[in-house]
């Protein structure tokens, strides 16, 4: 009987081609929108994960807190409150058992010049434990050691991208570069090149140059805290394991609070916190986008219901004839439900292709300077297709049961 209902449905739909395709269009747009918008949302989530993946998930940052300038709260991280000594206190053996490595970082931007070639890059002044904290390996040459920090040795380890730009076809090791930053300049010798890590924009891990922190502080950017100590931009810390992140955050906060007298002029955040926050934001975005697309699906469903009611009214006489010759209520019900279902499933199928096509189309397009990435999850396709079937059934039930309940005598007399 289901097979026969299917045939009857197809013929009825084929007989009203324009009407059928317009009804399908409603579902097509709804399903397509759900798939495309979910793909964009999922793409944003995937981008977040990718952006943080190479930072290492068990990394903790200590950054300065807010600064009050004339009663105005400035950007987080702008207060000159973190000192080199804070890092030393945190690295003290036994002080914080959940901490595996500590690297103070003094960050600035500068120009690196060699023989007519130059590049603007991020200059990171730090200690040798930085490679451990940030999980960086040196592919050529070597990283500087504690001795180099102590003796303010003018050496540099180039990020992969910087090395590529300045030394397109020669070995950078042993070459001397000129670094201009903050009105100062210093000559440094290249001793190593970092592995290629990728990342885009501000998070580009290949666009940086790493030097002993003493070189940056003494020769390029001699900044002091209010107490006169040497000021650092941030302190990067690695927890002993992923599980120890919370304990490490607690211990670091305690030590810093003791050293600074209050927990107000610094912030301790873990990469995991950042991932969670960003993920939450993009998840909210995904849900929001999905909900908007869902509305268009409901509108499409109402379109189906509308057209099915018209169809039932138009075919009142047909229903009367069928009932007279032996169609039971359930037979008529099945016939019209099948019709609604076929329209919504065909529309849904076309919508799946439309949605995937749309996702492919916007992939890589720029929006506010950021490339859109999309991920079409099979589960989203199944979901959208399932919802379109559910909508066909839901909005088909009322017209179908109206048809099934028709009185055969009145239906036969209907003109």
């Amino acid at each position: 009987m289901i097979g026969e209902s299917f045939t009857i449905a197809l013929r009825a739909l084929y007989a009203n081609k324009l009407r059928t395709s317009l009804t399908m269009l409603g579902i097509l747009i709804g399903v397509g929108a759900v798939i495309a918008l979910l793909a964009i949302g999922q793409g944003a989530q995937a981008a977040v994960e990718q952006r943080f993946a190479f930072l290492g998930t068990n990394v903790i940052y200590v950054r300065p807190g807010f600064q009050m300038v004339g009663g105005v709260r400035t950007q987080a991280g702008s207060a000159p409150t973190l000192s080199y000594e804070d890092a030393a206190a945190l690295a003290e053996p036994g002080a914080a058992p959940a901490v595996a490595a500590v690297a103070p970082v003094r960050m600035t931007f500068g120009q690196m010049v060699i023989q007519g070639l130059n590049v603007q890059t991020r200059i990171v002044g730090t200690t040798p434990s930085w490679t451990d904290v940030r999980s960086f390996r040196v592919t050529r040459g070597e990283f500087f050691d504690d001795e180099a920090v102590e003796s303010v040795s003018p050496v540099v380890v180039l990020g992969y991208g910087v090395a590529q730009t300045l030394f397109p076809d020669s070995d950078p090791i042993g070459e001397t570069l000129r670094v201009n930053a903050g009105g100062q300049s210093v000559n440094v010798r290249v001793i190593g090149v970092l592995e290629k890590k990728g990342g885009t924009g501000f998070a580009n891990q290949d666009d940086q140059a790493v030097m002993p922190i003493s070189v940056v502080l003494r020769k390029l950017q001699n900044a002091r805290t209010a107490q006169g100590a040497q000021q650092v931009s941030e302190i990067d810390i690695k927890a002993v394991s992923d599980k120890a992140i919370d304990a490490a955050v607690e211990q670091v906060t305690e030590i810093m609070t003791r050293a600074h007298g209050s927990p107000d002029d610094f912030q301790v955040t873990s990469v995991q916190d950042q991932i969670d926050a960003q993920k939450e934001a993009s998840q909210t975005l995904t849900i929001l986008l999905g909900a908007i697309a869902g509305i268009s699906l409901v509108v499409g469903g109402i379109g189906i219901m509308n057209i099915m009611i018209v169809s039932v009214t138009e075919r009142t006489r047909e229903i009367g004839i069928r009932k007279a010759v032996g169609a039971r209520r359930q037979d008529i019900m099945l016939q019209f439900l099948m019709e609604a279902l076929v329209v919504s499933l065909l529309g849904g199928l076309a919508g799946v292709f439309g949605g995937i096509g749309m996702s492919k189309f916007v992939e890589g397009k720029e929006l506010n300077g950021q490339a859109i990435s999309t991920v079409v999850e099979p589960s989203a396709v199944v979901l959208a297709f399932g919802i379109s079937a559910a909508i066909g059934l839901f909005f088909g039930i009322y017209p179908a049961s109206r048809a099934a309940r028709l009185n055969p005598i009145q239906a036969l007399r209907y003109e």
Partner: protein
Amino acid sequence: MITLRGVTKTYRMGNIEVHALAGVDLEIGDGEFVAIMGPSGSGKSTLMNIVGCLDVPTAGSYLLDGLEVSGMTDDELTRIRNRKLGFVFQSFNLLPRLSALEQVEVPMTYARVPGHERKRRATAALARVGLGDRTHHKPTELSGGQQQRVAIARALVTEPSLILADEPTGALDSRSTAEIIALFEELNAAGITVVFVTHEPDVAAHTRRQVHIRDGEVVLDTATGEQPAPETSAWGRIPAGVAP
């Protein structure tokens, strides 16, 4: 075998009760050929609907082949219509867009007859009404008489014991009318009970029994000579048994 005992049908129209049938007693045996006649509004259509199991009486009893129909549910009535009855309508009532063969298959679809069997029986039924060469024509490609033949094929394909026809020749020219009447006579000769409603005396003349209805009551039955209340109508003046 149809047995109606004191069948009444009452419709409510606002506060007024309309008695479409006011106590009809009627018996139609197997193999009979009966015409039900009466002016419009007499209740003959209501009687047909009840005999055809499309409607149930308000009061009274209707036995079809010994089965009490009056208390049945919708789906039970549908089953009876499908198995025991065949309908022929004035306006043919074919389904749009289906070929003659498919039209005839419809009742068998609802009886869950398998596809190849349906095709075989539908082809045979169409051949029986003389449309063996028109099986793939759509209603719009057939004349009125041919359409009515398709409807008759559809009615007899389930091998019903009773075929009910509501003004089957009302929309046909005289030549087609004669052909359709001849077809009904042929089916009746093959043992099928045929009951039809008509208001054309010359069509009714082909049947062996006429039942006249007026104001919801049987006023004349040529089989019994029944003439219950002489004052009820003008039909009372027709002497019993004069019809050919």
